[in-house]
Symmetry: D2
Subunit: 338 residues, 4 copies
C-alpha cells in the first residue's frame, strides 16, 4: 500500500465514466457541449456568477492566474515554501515575464497578514523597487494546513487595502473545504479571492484542473486567461475530455466525497502517529518524524511513502483510501517502539 502522492493513484471510476461518455464527435478546443457547461456548474458550486475554464495542470493554472493579476515589473507575496516558489521550475516567472516572487516565512507554510503588511512597508514607492501586486496562498498549505474563512478574509482585506490581486492555489482545495465543512464561497470570493486554481487531478481526476475567476473583473480576466491558455499551448484540441472530468467532479458532490475519504484516512493515520506529527493533520497529508530504521520497518510491512529529509517522512492519502483501509498502517505506526 503506497502513500507516495495523490498523483500516484488511479483515476476514480466516476471520472473514467465521464471520459467515456464524452467520447463523441463534437467541436474542437473548447467549443464543445461539456466546456460550455463549466461556467454554470462552477457558478452553482460557488453560489455566484463565476467564469471557469479547464486548464492542463496546477502549475499552468497557478501561472496563468498570476499572469492575470501581476505585471512583469510587479511582485507576488507568497510563502517561501509555496509550490509556486519551490516546485514549478520558475513557471510563474515565465508566465508573468519576470515578476518577482516575494517569499515570506510563516508557520506550516501559511502566510499571515502581519508578515505581508510588514513586507509591504519595506517597499519604497519608486521605480527602483518592485511593487507588490498580488498575494498567492495555497489552500490547503504545502504542509497540509488549512486557512479558515477568517484567515483568508484577513489576507483578502490586506489585498484590497493595498490594491493587490488575490490568488489561491487550490491543488487540495477540496480537502480544505471538506475539513472546514464550510461553503466553498466562504474561503474564496466571500473572503476576497480573485482567482482560484481548483484542483481535480490529486482528487481523482486524470488530466485537467480548473481556473475559477471571481468578482467584477472575472470576465475580463477570464478572457485574458483564455489568451494565455492558447499562447502557452494549453488549449487542447479535444477539450471535452477535460471538461467532462471537471463536470463529473462538481455537478454532484464527488469532489467532496473523494476529499472526505482522503481526509478521514489521514485522520486515521494521525491517530496511529500521535507524538510523531510535525504539523497538525487537517487535510490529506501527514509529515511525521520517522527514523530510517522505522521507515525500513514500515516498508518491510508493505507500506511505501517518500522520505522527507532526514528523520522524517510524508504520507499522502487519497480518494481511494478511507479510515478503514489505512488502519493497517495506522496500527503499524502505533506499534513502532517509542
Amino acid at each position: 500500500m503506497h502513500f507516495f502522492s495523490d498523483n500516484s493513484t488511479p483515476v476514480c471510476p466516476e471520472v473514467m465514466a465521464a471520459i467515456a461518455a464524452a467520447d463523441q464527435a463534437d467541436h474542437g478546443y473548447d467549443g464543445d457541449r461539456w466546456s460550455a457547461r463549466l461556467n454554470g456548474a462552477f457558478s452553482d458550486l460557488f453560489g455566484m456568477q463565476v467564469h471557469a475554464m479547464w486548464i492542463a495542470t496546477g502549475t499552468a493554472a497557478n501561472s496563468i492566474a498570476l499572469a492575470c493579476l501581476c505585471p512583469p515589473y510587479g511582485g507576488i507575496m507568497c510563502h517561501d515554501e509555496a509550490h509556486v516558489v519551490v516546485d514549478e521550475c520558475g513557471a510563474p516567472s515565465f508566465y508573468t515575464h519576470g515578476a518577482s516572487l516575494m517569499a515570506l516565512p510563516g508557520e506550516g507554510a501559511k502566510l499571515s497578514p502581519g508578515t505581508v503588511v510588514e513586507r509591504l512597508k519595506g517597499i519604497r514607492p519608486d521605480v527602483h523597487q518592485v511593487p507588490a501586486r498580488a498575494i498567492s496562498i495555497t489552500q490547503a498549505s504545502e504542509y497540509g494546513l488549512v486557512y479558515t474563512p477568517d484567515e483568508v478574509a484577513a489576507l483578502g482585506m490586506v489585498a484590497q487595502e493595498h490594491g493587490l490581486g488575490f490568488h489561491m492555489d487550490g491543488a487540495r482545495f477540496a480537502n480544505a473545504v471538506a475539513f472546514l465543512g464550510c461553503h466553498p464561497g466562504d474561503v474564496t470570493w466571500r473572503a476576497g479571492v480573485d482567482i482560484l486554481s481548483f484542483g481535480c487531478v490529486k482528487n481523482g481526476g486524470m488530466i485537467g484542473e480548473a481556473l475559477v475567476f471571481f468578482g467584477d473583473q472575472a470576465q475580463a480576466r477570464a478572457a485574458e486567461g483564455a489568451r494565455w491558455r492558447k499562447r502557452s499551448g494549453h488549449l487542447f484540441s479535444k477539450g471535452r475530455y477535460l471538461a467532462a472530468q471537471l463536470l463529473a467532479m462538481v455537478e454532484g458532490d464527488l469532489w467532496l466525497r473523494n476529499a472526505r475519504a482522503a481526509n478521514s484516512a489521514a485522520q486515521a493515520l494521525a491517530g496511529g502517529a500521535a507524538g510523531r506529527l510535525l504539523h497538525p493533520v487537517e487535510a490529506n497529508e501527514l509529515f511525521i518524524r520517522l527514523t530510517a530504521q522505522e521507515a525500513a520497518q514500515l516498508r518491510a510491512q508493505g507500506f511505501d511513502f517518500y522520505d522527507w529529509g532526514d528523520g522524517a517522512a510524508r504520507l499522502v492519502t487519497n480518494w481511494s483510501h478511507d479510515a478503514a483501509s489505512v488502519q493497517p498502517l495506522a496500527d503499524a505506526l502505533a506499534a513502532l517502539p517509542a
Copy 2:
C-alpha cells in the same frame, strides 16, 4: 456526417483501451512505467536512438522545439501560412522569448530551399538585424501537401550549411508518411530534421503529442525540452495516461493504419470533387471550390464542414473514415451541377 476537423472525432478504440490499461497506481509525472518506454518505442520507430517525450498539444510541442533551437534574438524561417505563424496566438514568441518568425511565401504552404536561401542573403551579419537560427516546416503542410524525402533533405542541407536548427511540425506526420510510403526516418533524421512534433490527437488520440529529438544534440536538447515542459506547466501529474496513448500508436502500426484510413477517405472525396480542388490531395485534407449554394445543398444532405473563405470549403477526413464510408459525400460532390 461531419468533416470539420480531425479534432472533432472520438478517440480510437485502441487508444481508449490503452488509457484504461494504464489506470493503475504508479509514480507521478514521467516517473512511470509507460513514460519510461517512450525513448525505446520511438527509437524503434525511427530506426535510430532518439529521445522522445509526451507533450500536451501541438502548439506546446512546436514552441518547445523552437525554444530548444532558437535564442530570443534569433529568427525562424517558416511559411507565412504555417500554423506557428497563424494559429498559435504567438506561442512560439512566448516560448522563445521573442524570437522572430521570418514568414516566407511558397506554393501550398510549402517552403522551398531557394526562398530560404534568398531570405538568408538579405540578412546583414551585424547586431542590428535578427540572425536566422532555425527552419520550421509542416509535414503535411497546412494545405495538405507532403514534402518528399528529397524536398526535406534539400531544406536540411540549407539548415546545415547555415547553422540553422531544423524543426518539423508533424501534426499530420502520420498522414504524410502514409502518403509517401517511406520509412519515417527518410523524412526526418536522414533528411536533417533535429526535432519533430509527432502528432497523435488528430490521428485518434485523446490528449498528448510527442516531441522527438534526433542527432548528436538530442540528449541535451531533450533535457532542455524537459525543463521547458515543466516551466510551462506541461508536466502532467499523471503522465502515464499520455504515455500510454503514444505507445498504443507507435508500438504497433496503429499510427499508420489510422492515417491510411483518413488518407483513403480523402482520395475518395477527391475523386468526387475533381475539378474543384484548390490543392492536390495528398494527406487527409481537401480544399475545394464550393459556392454558398452548393455548400447549403451538401449540408441539406447531412454533410457538414467548415467554409474556407468565400466560395471555398475545407473537408477533413479522419481515422474513423475510410473510402467506403465517405463515398456518399464523394457522390454528392460529383452530383453537384457543374
Copy 3:
C-alpha cells in the same frame, strides 16, 4: 566630406554648451532640475499638456512606447521596412515580451490606412490568432518621405476605430516638421498619435531622445514607461546630462533650425541628382541610383557615403550642413556623365 549618417556628425555647439552648464551637483536619476522641466518644455512645444521623459536611444524609445501600447499576445501594424522591424535586433519583441510585428507593404516605407484595414479584416477574433493592438509609423519614413497631417490623421482614425494604440517613431521628426512647415501638434496628438519617439541625436544631440505621451492616458502610460525605463537599465544615474540636451533643443527652436539646415542641404543635393532619385527628397536623406564606377568617382573627389545595395547609394545630410556647404557634392553629382 561625408554623408554616412546623421549619427556620424559631431554634437552641435548649443547642445555641448548645455551639457557643460548642467555639470553641477544635483540629485541623481531624474530627480534633478533639468529633468523636472521636461514636461513643461514639451507641453509648450506641442501646445497641450504632455508627459515627456528622456530615454537613451531611439530603439529604447520605440520599444518602451510599444510595450506601453501592446500586450505580449498582441500585434503591431507597421511597415515591413520599418526600423522596428529591420534594424533593432528584435528589441520591440523583447520589450513587449513577444508581441508580433505585423509587417505590411507600402510605397516609400509609408503605411497606408487601406493596407492596415485590409490586414485587420484578415484577423479572426478568436484566441488562436494574434489580435492587432497598435500601429507604428516612422516620421520621416525610412526612405525620407514625410506623412502629411492628413495622412497621419487617416491612420489615427483607423487606430481609434479599431482600438489600437498609435505610435510614431520620430527619429527624424524634426526634419519632417521642418519639411511640412506645420505645428508639431498637427502630425501628432491632433492626428491621434498616442506616443512619440522624439529624436535628438541625429539632429545634433549627443546621447538621449525623448518619449512624449499624449492624450487621456498620457500620465498612466508615462508612469508605465518610467518603470520600463528603469527595468531595462535606462534610468541613468546622472540624468541631468540628457535632460539638458533635450531642453537645449526644444526650449528654443534649435531642433527646427538644425533640421532645416539638414533639409536644405538635402534639397541642394537633390537638385544635383535630378534623374537619379529613387524616392522624392522630403527630409534629409537621398536614395539615388549610382553605379559603382560613379561612386568611386565621387569618393575620389572626397565625398563619402554608404552604398545601398547594387547600383544605389544613400546620402544623409545633417545639422552641420546647409545648401551652400554641400554644393560641391551637388555639382559633382550633376557633373557625372549621364
Copy 4:
C-alpha cells in the same frame, strides 16, 4: 556640502575633456576609433586578454552579464540586499527572461561560500526546481565592504565546482581596488570572475559603464552581450562619447586616483564618526548611527546626506572630495554630544 551619492557629483574634468576631444565625425554605434581601443585598454588594465564594451548603466551592465551566464530557467545566487535584488526594478529578471534571484543572507551585504554551498545542497536536481547557474557579488558591497582576493577566490572556487557563472557588480570596483591595493586581476579573473560590471559614473564619469569579459568564453559571451546591448536599446548611435570616457578613466590611473580621493575622504569621516559606525568603512560609504536631532544639527551646519531608516544615515564621498575637504564634516561629527 553634500554627501547624498556619488551620482550627485559633477563629472571630473579629465572625463569632460575626453568627451570634448571625441566630438568629431566618426562612424556610428561602436564603429568609431574610441570604441575600437576598449579591448586593448582593458586588457592592459587587467593584465590579460579581455573583451570590453561600453554599456549605458550599471543596471544594464549587471543584467546583460547575468543574461550571458544564466538561462531563463536558472537561478542566480546573490545577497538579499544586493542591488540586483533590491534596486533594479527586477531588471535581471527582464533580461534573463525570468531567472530566479536566489537571495541569501550575509554580514555587510557580503556573500560567503558556506552560505552558497548550503543553498546549493537544498536544490533537488530535477525539473521541478530551479537549478543555480550563476553567482553574483557586489564589489564593494552595498554597505561599502570589500571582498579580499581570497574571499573572491573562495566564491570562484564554488562557482567552478558547481558549474556556475561568476559575475561581479563593480559599481564601486575602483574604490574596492584602491582599498585593497591589489592588482585589479587579483579580485577578478585570477579569482574566477567571468564578467565584471566596471563602474565609471559614480567615479567621475558622465554616462557609461563597462562590461568586461574574462576567460575562455570571453569572446563568445561578449558577442552574446553585444546582441543584448542592441536588443535592449543600449547601442548608442554615437558610442564614441561613452568610449572616450572609459578610456580617460583606464588608459591612465584616473580611475584609481578618483577612487583614492573618495576613499580617503571616507576614512577622514570615519575618524570623526568613531563609535557611530554600523559597518567598517572600507570604500567610500559610511553608514552611521545618527538621531534625527543630530542629523538636523549637521544639516544646520550645511552638510547634507540621506537618512537611512530610523536613527541612521548614509554618507557617500566622491572623487571631488579628499581628506582635507571633508574635515569640516568629520569635525562636526566628532563634536556631536555623545
